[in-house]
């Protein structure tokens, strides 16, 4: 029972991160019908931006003290630090990383995807793979191929729960931030004019254009939003598990995409649900079967969805028009 509860907690925390990334996939797919393969790598860039920002802001942590245990509060490098490591630092780091990645997302869209939008969708897909590899290999050159360790931004504690399980304070923060971000996204998409325009574009790009929507700007905005969420996920992952490397986005990106398909691609609540389900299933497999095959779980789930419910859990079957 305690194993179950423990794995459930871990799964929800992991799943929340998958959800954040899956949202970016699903939104871009909604407006452009494009699998943005580079999305997982934007998440990686987000984690690295967080790493450099945290160090720049004066947090000193796990990288110097080794993989420290609980309770080592990092102190600033510059005489007490420009900023004391705290939850506030973590938030500032995350928000700045989100802003940088939003800009990167817009740049990718502007210079790689927009020029090929007039060609077939296969061309766009190949371009996306190109961008993904550029980020991965460029990341290896720029950031270095060896893994880096994210500084500890606040002290982590284990809080014991009833039933023998325990929850780490990092997990709570990850979950709270993820929920806040998802609520914010929900408000943007369903309560603002831009959000309405996004939904219109994803419904039908041509008609949206005819109605006077600046579709290019909406598409760029969608990329910005998705990339910002991916960056947040990157920083949150680094807070949970401080080891980051330039190839960390490949598998996570793939799983998040599966999460988006599971929920119903193009469907925002679906991506959240799918992410949680993938996260929980994965930790359950680790807990009860074997950690070796945890990376195979998402793939098995994908095959099952494609066989039994290709439109996803919350997706609707789209009729094809000729």
């Amino acid at each position: 029972m305690s194993t179950f509860l423990q794995q459930l907690i871990n799964g929800i925390s992991l799943g929340a991160i998958y959800s954040l990334i899956a949202l970016g996939y699903t939104m871009v797919y909604g407006v452009l019908k494009l699998i943005n393969f580079a999305h997982g790598d934007v998440y990686m860039v987000g984690a690295f931006m967080g790493f450099y920002l945290a160090n720049g802001l004066g947090a000193r942590g796990a990288q110097m003290l080794g993989m420290s245990g609980d309770g080592i509060v990092a102190r600033g490098l510059l005489g007490g630090g420009a900023m004391e490591p705290s939850l506030i630092t973590a938030l500032v780091v995350m928000l700045l990383a989100m802003a940088i990645c939003a800009a990167i997302g817009v740049i990718i869209e502007r210079f790689a995807y927009r020029p090929v939008r007039k060609y077939s969708r296969l061309t766009a897909l190949i371009t996306a793979i190109g961008v993904s590899l550029l980020l991965e290999n460029g990341g290896q050159v720029v950031f270095g191929a060896e893994p880096k360790f994210f500084p500890e931004l606040f002290s982590k504690r284990n809080i014991d729960l009833v039933g023998g399980a325990s929850i780490n304070s990092a997990d709570i923060i990850v979950l709270v931030i993820a929920i806040v971000l998802m609520i914010a996204l929900q408000l943007i998409v369903y309560r603002t004019k831009t959000g309405r325009a996004m939904r219109a574009v994803s419904f039908n790009l041509q008609s949206a254009k005819l109605m006077g929507i600046n579709t290019d700007r909406i598409i760029a905005f969608t990329f910005a939003l998705g990339s910002a969420l991916a960056a947040a996920a990157g920083v949150l992952v680094a807070i949970r598990i401080p080891r980051i490397d330039p190839l960390m986005g490949i598998l996570v990106g793939l799983k998040a995409f599966v999460a988006a398909v599971l929920g119903g691609i193009g469907n925002i609540p679906g991506a959240m649900l799918g992410g949680l389900l993938i996260g929980i299933t994965e930790t359950m497999v680790v807990g009860y079967l074997s950690p070796t095959y945890k990376d195979a779980v998402a793939f098995a789930i994908l095959i099952l969805i494609l066989l039994f419910r290709p439109s996803g859990l919350l997706g609707t079957v789209a009729q094809e028009k000729v």
């Binding site: 019908k33 699998i35 790689a112 020029p115 090929v116 060609y119 077939s120 969708r121 296969l122 061309t123 897909l125 190949i126 371009t127 793979i129 190109g130 961008v131 993904s132 590899l133 550029l134 991965e136 290999n137 460029g138 290896q140 050159v141 490949i250 598998l251 793939l254 995409f257 599966v258 398909v261 070796t292 095959y293 990376d295 195979a296 998402a298 793939f299 994908l302 095959i303 494609l306 066989l307 290709p310 094809e320 000729v322």
Partner: protein, 358 residues
């Protein structure tokens, strides 16, 4: 001359040429490094041409070719190590025995890779859309995870002790066979069905093409040929490592056919050779190689999405010119091509893939 006789003669000539070249290369008259690159190009040709069948001609997007290659390589290597040696010895251990053992091994590799293709293809090709891309990507990753954990084939340490067959003849025989198979498929009724699926899947279905069946068949054939390519690789160095089948490998094959042009066999062959030789020439920039590749890919997609030889490749342009001059000279339909296979199989189109990835 009857057609079959002509084909038989061509086949014999090709085999004779390959044996002759094999003799030359085995004779150590050439730089062994050069011969090695040449043989690796042959393996790359097999892989690229087979991938082009599904990506270029059928318009479905597979990005896990290395996975099928791995299935072929490992299954054939397992056979060769555990049974192939005995089989060869029981047949006298001479040249004949080895040829039989290698043939069986190749067939086994192709069979299992085709089987994997069937398992991946059926769920993902029933649907229209980009699902094949994501499923093959996942398959490629998962195969590596499994290979890393199967101790019978060495796990993460790699699989060593596979009988080495460094034969120019064998490698290029498979490469030529792959080209012939793909060429014949593309220029048959089956191939026309595939091309119709690429151009417009809905219209193809409306015309009575069983799209799922054709897509799955093309995918299985493509996977099986990739498996044969894997068999060649397994026996080339006598050592396999799961690392060499990671996504980067699939991507390399993909960029070969995109560079050459989707839907162009000549393009695939050239792309395979260029991308095998280029890294050797760029050894000093190994660190930046993949960065350059990916930038190149993006720029190519923006400026020339059909690839260098796609749709208006030199061969097709030449053929069209020849057809035109023939029509002008002979005048009228009398000069029309005698065999329907020379009718341009691919209409001019802005980019391969078209609208069918809906």
């Amino acid at each position: 001359m009857p057609r079959y006789l002509r084909n038989l003669i061509i086949a014999l000539v090709v085999i004779a040429v390959l044996i002759g070249l094999d003799f030359v290369f085995q004779g150590r008259m050439l730089n062994p490094y050069f011969v090695r690159i040449l043989m690796l190009s042959g393996i790359a040709i097999t892989l690229a041409v087979s991938l082009n069948l599904i990506n270029g001609f059928t318009g479905q997007f597979s990005i896990g070719h290395a996975g099928f290659m791995a299935v072929g390589a490992y299954s054939s290597a397992y056979f060769s190590v555990n049974y192939g040696v005995n089989l060869a010895n029981s047949l006298g251990g001479g040249k004949v025995g080895w040829v039989v053992a290698l043939l069986v091994s190749t067939l086994i590799g192709a069979f299992f890779a085709g089987l994997a293709g069937l398992a991946v293809g059926i769920p993902s090709l029933r649907l229209r859309g980009d699902y094949l891309a994501i499923v093959t990507l996942g398959f490629g990753q998962i195969i590596v995870v499994f290979l890393n954990n199967i101790e019978a084939v060495g796990g993460a340490r790699g699989y060593s002790g596979i009988p080495i067959v460094k034969s120019f003849f064998w490698i290029f025989l498979v490469a030529v066979l792959t080209i012939v198979i793909v060429y014949n498929i593309v220029n048959s009724a089956f191939g026309r069905a595939l091309i119709s699926i690429r151009e417009d899947e809905l219209a193809a279905e409306a015309m009575g093409v069983n799209t799922t069946r054709y897509k799955v068949m093309a995918f299985v054939i493509s996977s099986a040929l990739a498996g044969a390519g894997g068999v060649l690789l397994a026996h080339f160095d006598g050592y396999l490592n799961p690392k060499s089948f990671e996504f980067i490998k699939s991507f390399e094959i993909l960029i070969m056919i995109i560079l050459g042009g989707l839907g162009s066999i000549v393009g695939s062959v050239l792309g395979a050779i260029v991308l095998t030789v280029l890294p050797e020439a760029l050894r000093g920039f190994a660190e930046y190689r993949m960065v350059i590749y990916s930038l190149l890919l993006i720029i190519l997609m923006i400026t020339r999405p059909q690839g260098l030889l796609g749709s208006t490749g030199p061969l097709k342009a030449w053929r069209k010119r020849r057809k035109l001059t023939a029509e002008n000279a002979g005048g009228g339909p009398a000069a029309a091509p005698t065999s329907p296979s020379t009718v341009a199989t691919q209409p001019e189109r802005p980019a391969p893939g078209g609208e069918n990835l809906r």
